[in-house]
C-alpha cells in the first residue's frame, strides 16, 4: 500500500521530540515530503533525514498532490488559519493541542475540515499513551464501577537554565502564549472528561506565576471540576518542580467498586539519580515521555484516512477540553464558579 505523504508545519520542540520520531517509527506507512518553519534552519534540519523539501512558508506544501496530510506543530495562535488552509487544500490534519485559542477558532477548524471532507485529529497524545489507554480499558470493563473522584497532578520540571516561560521562548510571551492551562492542563481537562465519560458542569481554579524570569504568563493552575454525573475531578499543574521530582504525573481514580492509581513514583521500577536530575529507564513505556504515544497518534490518523472512518477522538472532544480549560482560566480570573453546559 502506498505510504501517506506528509507535510510538517512547525519544526520546533514538539516536532523534534515527538512527531519526527513518530514518523520514523511509521516509515512503512508515511513519508515526510516537505517541512516548513519560519526558522529556515529548523525546517531544513527536520527535512534532511527524509530528503524532504523545506521552506519558511507552509503554503507551498499544500499545493502538492503527493502530500495527503499535514502535521501542524506550531503554537496554538497559528492553528486556526493553518488548519483552514490545509482543509481548503484537501489535506487531512493532525494538529497539536491545544486545538485553538478560542472556541470560535475551534469551530472554524471543525467546520473547515468537515466541509472539505478531511480528517481532523487533535493531538491529545495522552489518549494514545499506554498508561491512560489501560486506565480507560479498565473503566470500560467496569473494573472500578462508576467514577466518583479523579485527580491528575502534573508537576513538570523547571529547566536549568530556564528558557520556557521566559521571554526567550514563545511560551513566555504573554501576547501569544496560553500558558500552562493551554500547554499542559488541557491534557488534564481532556483526561478527566474522557475517564468520567460525563460533561463538565462547574469548574473552579486558581492560577499563578511561579517561575523566575516569567514576565506574566500563567505557569501554574489548580482546578476542580464537577461533572453532570456527580463525579469530581481535580488537577494541580505546575512547571517549577526541581529536576528529578518523583511525582511528575499522578493519576488516581476512585470508583464505586475500586480504585486505579498510576503514580510515577510507584510505576518506576528503576530510577537513576544524577547531578542533573533523575531518569527512569526501568519502566519507560509507562511514563509519558515516550515515542509510542505519538506513533500511535499518527497511526490513528493514517488508519482513519485509509479506512475512510472517523478518527477515534473526534475534534468535538478536543473542543470540549478547550472549553473546560478556558472556563478554568475564567474562573481563576473572576473568582467565580464557572458553569458549563446546561448549568451555565
Amino acid at each position: 500500500m502506498d505510504r501517506i505523504g506528509l507535510g510538517l508545519i512547525g519544526c520546533g520542540g514538539i516536532a523534534r521530540s515527538a512527531h519526527l520520531p513518530a514518523m520514523g517509527q511509521l516509515v512503512d506507512r508515511v513519508v515526510l515530503r516537505a517541512t516548513a518553519d519560519i526558522d529556515a534552519a529548523a525546517a531544513a534540519a527536520a527535512a534532511a533525514p527524509w530528503g524532504a523539501d523545506h521552506a519558511t512558508d507552509y503554503r507551498a506544501m499544500l499545493e502538492r498532490p503527493d502530500i495527503q496530510a499535514v502535521v501542524i506543530a506550531t503554537p496554538e495562535y497559528l492553528h486556526a488559519d493553518q488548519v483552514e488552509a490545509a482543509a481548503a487544500a484537501g489535506k487531512h490534519v493532525l494538529c497539536e493541542k491545544p486545538m485553538a485559542r478560542t472556541l470560535a477558532e475551534a469551530d472554524r477548524m471543525i467546520a473547515a475540515c468537515a466541509a472539505a471532507g478531511v480528517q481532523l485529529l487533535v493531538g491529545h497524545s495522552r489518549r494514545f499513551t499506554r498508561r491512560y489507554m489501560e486506565i480507560r480499558a479498565a473503566i470500560d470493563r467496569g473494573d472500578i464501577g462508576d467514577i466518583r473522584l479523579m485527580r491528575e497532578n502534573e508537576r513538570r520540571m523547571r529547566a536549568v537554565p530556564q528558557v520556557w516561560w521566559t521571554p526567550k521562548h514563545w511560551t513566555g510571551n504573554p501576547q501569544v502564549s496560553g500558558g500552562a492551562p493551554m500547554m499542559n492542563a488541557i491534557h488534564e481537562a481532556d483526561l478527566l472528561r474522557w475517564f468520567t465519560g460525563a460533561q463538565a458542569r462547574t469548574v473552579q481554579a486558581e492560577i499563578n506565576v511561579t517561575i523566575e524570569g516569567n514576565v506574566g504568563v500563567t505557569d501554574f493552575i489548580s482546578f476542580t471540576v464537577g461533572f453532570d454525573n456527580g463525579a469530581i475531578g481535580s488537577a494541580e499543574v505546575l512547571n517549577c518542580a526541581p529536576p528529578g521530582y518523583p511525582a511528575f504525573h499522578m493519576m488516581e481514580l476512585y470508583g464505586t467498586a475500586g480504585a486505579i492509581r498510576a503514580r510515577d513514583h510507584e510505576l518506576v521500577g528503576l530510577t537513576r539519580y544524577g547531578n542533573v536530575g533523575a531518569d527512569y529507564p526501568g519502566t519507560f513505556d509507562m511514563l509519558l515521555h515516550n515515542l509510542p504515544a505519538y506513533a500511535r497518534e499518527l497511526a490513528e490518523l493514517v488508519g482513519a484516512i485509509r479506512e475512510g472512518r472517523p478518527v477515534v477522538m473526534p475534534p468535538s472532544e478536543a473542543r470540549a477540553a478547550l472549553e473546560l480549560t478556558l472556563a478554568a482560566v475564567r474562573s481563576a480570573q473572576t473568582g467565580e464558579v464557572v458553569r458549563l453546559g446546561a448549568g451555565a
Binding site: 473552579q204 501554574f220 494541580e236 505546575l238 528529578g244 518523583p246 475500586g258 480504585a259
Partner: protein
C-alpha cells in the same frame, strides 16, 4: 530552665495511648496522672493514678496537660486547664464553635495558661522537618502547597469534621500569608455524608493551596490512623514531598535528593514543644486555633454551594 515537667493526660485518644506505649523516659517530662473516661487501662500501663479532671488541673505541681478526649468534650477541658494556668496541648479541633473558642481565649487570659496546637501532621517528624525545610532560606519563597488526605470508605460523618481540621492546621502552619480566597468542590461521592472535598486557597502572598480530603479508599487500599497523607510543596528554589505514612521526608534539590528517615511519634514532638514552652518559648496556639476555626467556617460556607 531545667527540671522535671509533670504532665497530666486527659482522655484516652490515640496520642495519649501512643505516649503511654512509648514508656519512660520522656526526657524532662514525667507523666503524673491521667483523667477522663476510659483511662483506667492507660493509667495502669503507665503506673500512674487515675484522678478526676478537677483534681488533675488543680494540682499546683502539674505544669502541662495533654487533652486527648473526644472532640465534643475538648473545649471545656482545654478551657479548664488554661484557667488553671497550665500549658495545654490538644489535637485539632479544639473548639467546634466560636463561643467555645472565645471561652478558651478568655480562660487563657484569666489563668495565664498557654495553648499549643496538637496537629498530628505538623508535629509528626516528616511534617515537622518539612515545615522547617520550607521556611529555610534555601527553599526560596513558597509557591504552592498540595495536601491530600485519603481515608477508607468505612468512616462516617462529614469529611471536613473528620480530617479537615488536621489539614488546615498544617496548611496554616506552612503558609505565612493571610488566606484571601477560598473555593470548594465537595460532595457525597461514596456514601450518604459529605465524604469528599477539594479546596483551593490563595494567600495574600500568592501561594495557591490545593487540599483534597476524601474517604475514597477501597478495602484493597488499607490505611490506618489519619490515613494516606500526601504533601507536595513547591518553593522558588526547592521542592518538598512529604508522605507522613511512609518512613521519610525527601528534599529534592537541583543537585539531587536528600532523604531523612523519621524517628518518633507526633506526640513526642508535642512533648518537646511543651518543654520548649515551659522554658519560655513563645506560643500562639490560641491565634492559630482561631485562624483554623475561621478558615473552616469559610470553607463550610463555600461548600454549601454544592
Amino acid at each position: 530552665m531545667s527540671g522535671v515537667i509533670r504532665l497530666g493526660v486527659i482522655g484516652a485518644g490515640a496520642h495519649a495511648t501512643e505516649l503511654v506505649a512509648h514508656g519512660a523516659p520522656l526526657g524532662r517530662i514525667a507523666l503524673a496522672a491521667v483523667a477522663g473516661q476510659g483511662t483506667e487501662a492507660l493509667a495502669g500501663r503507665a503506673g500512674v493514678p487515675v484522678v478526676d479532671v478537677d483534681t488533675l488541673v488543680g494540682d499546683p505541681g502539674l505544669r502541662a496537660v495533654l487533652v486527648d478526649a473526644p472532640v465534643a468534650e475538648r473545649a471545656a477541658l482545654v478551657a479548664g486547664a488554661l484557667r488553671a494556668g497550665k500549658i495545654v496541648v490538644c489535637p485539632p479541633p479544639v473548639a467546634l464553635d466560636a463561643a467555645a473558642l472565645d471561652a478558651i481565649a478568655a480562660a487563657a487570659q484569666a489563668g495565664g495558661g498557654r495553648l499549643l496546637c496538637g496537629g498530628e501532621i505538623a508535629h509528626g517528624e516528616p511534617g515537622r522537618r518539612g515545615l522547617a525545610a520550607m521556611t529555610a532560606p534555601e527553599f526560596g519563597p513558597l509557591r504552592s502547597l498540595y495536601l491530600a488526605i485519603r481515608q477508607p470508605r468505612c468512616g462516617e460523618g462529614d469529611v471536613l469534621d473528620a480530617i479537615g481540621w488536621e489539614a488546615l492546621d498544617f496548611v496554616l502552619a506552612a503558609v505565612p500569608g493571610k488566606i484571601e480566597k477560598v473555593r470548594v468542590n465537595a460532595g457525597a461521592q461514596f456514601g450518604a455524608a459529605r465524604d469528599t472535598a477539594v479546596i483551593l486557597l490563595r494567600s495574600a502572598d500568592d501561594v495557591v493551596v490545593t487540599i483534597e480530603l476524601s474517604r475514597c479508599l477501597p478495602a484493597s487500599l488499607p490505611a490506618t490512623g489519619l490515613g494516606e497523607v500526601e504533601i507536595d510543596v513547591m518553593g522558588a528554589l526547592q521542592a518538598l514531598r512529604i508522605t507522613p505514612q511512609s518512613t521519610a521526608v525527601r528534599v529534592h534539590r537541583d543537585g539531587g535528593t536528600d532523604l531523612a528517615p523519621w524517628l518518633d511519634a507526633p506526640v513526642l514532638a508535642m512533648l518537646r514543644a511543651v518543654v520548649a514552652a515551659c522554658d519560655g518559648q513563645a506560643t500562639d496556639g490560641i491565634g492559630r486555633t482561631r485562624a483554623v476555626f475561621d478558615l473552616m467556617e469559610r470553607i463550610r460556607k463555600e461548600a454549601v454551594l454544592f
